[in-house]
Amino acid sequence: MPKQKLNPSKWVDLYADYLFNYTITRVNDTIVAEDLVQETFLAGLKSAENFKGDAAERTWLISILKRKIIDHYRKINSKKGKAEIKMGYTNADDQDGDWLEERVADPFDLNAEDVLQNEELGIAIQECLMKLPKKQADVFIKKTIQGMETEDICKELNITASNLWVIVHRARTALMDCLENNWFKNE
């Protein structure tokens, strides 16, 4: 396998959204997720000389991000321990409370399996998006994921509406094929 090279000037365009989605499903907070992605890029720059080129750039960035997420949880858990309010039912009055209901699982909650599956699906879609030509990926993200109006995208990218639909069509066809190979076959 040829040695991989780092190209930090393209990191934001290529990996920012992918890393952000990876993070948001784990920390559930947009601002924290943005900060962790930013920190990952900076840590990547700092340790660029340690990159041996055996793994893909993205895999390497993900491994840094994983450590950042673990550090984040360590930090908040150490803070939380100090200010934790323990719930206990030690006296007779408390025992009359609806303690049983507080401990029942919420039936409307997504179960862990659903969450995991949606998360994996998100990653599979992102990976397929990365394989598309940049313009197709851009248009698809703006139209489908960000829900922008056709007119606004056309103005921003300086294309006609019929041009946009041709690009959307190509992107959707490529994504369907890619997901068929990477998602439905593994399901």
Partner: protein, 83 residues
């Protein structure tokens, strides 16, 4: 070859493009009618429509998010200043 579109009958390619518009709720009444007419007999359009609908459902289910463009710009500047 003429690029003129038929008022009632859509070609396979045109039908697929209408199907894309349907995914975003942007097909006109006439376009939907043309697509439905073609769906009655064209297997390729039927198969494309099914896959296309699937893709829309998957994208909705995955709830993919994107970073704010300003934040991306800030990150770009940060990286470039340290490169």
């Amino acid at each position: 070859m003429s690029n003129k579109k038929n008022i009632l009958f859509a070609s396979c390619e045109e039908a697929k493009q209408i199907c894309d518009k349907v995914q975003y709720g942007e097909a006109t009444f006439i376009e939907k009618m043309k697509l439905n007419l073609r769906l009655m007999w064209c297997r390729a359009t039927k198969s494309y429509t099914k896959k296309n609908r699937n893709l829309t459902q998957l994208c909705n289910k995955a709830e993919i998010k994107t970073l704010n463009p300003d934040k991306k710009e800030e990150m770009r500047k940060n990286i470039n200043s340290k490169c």
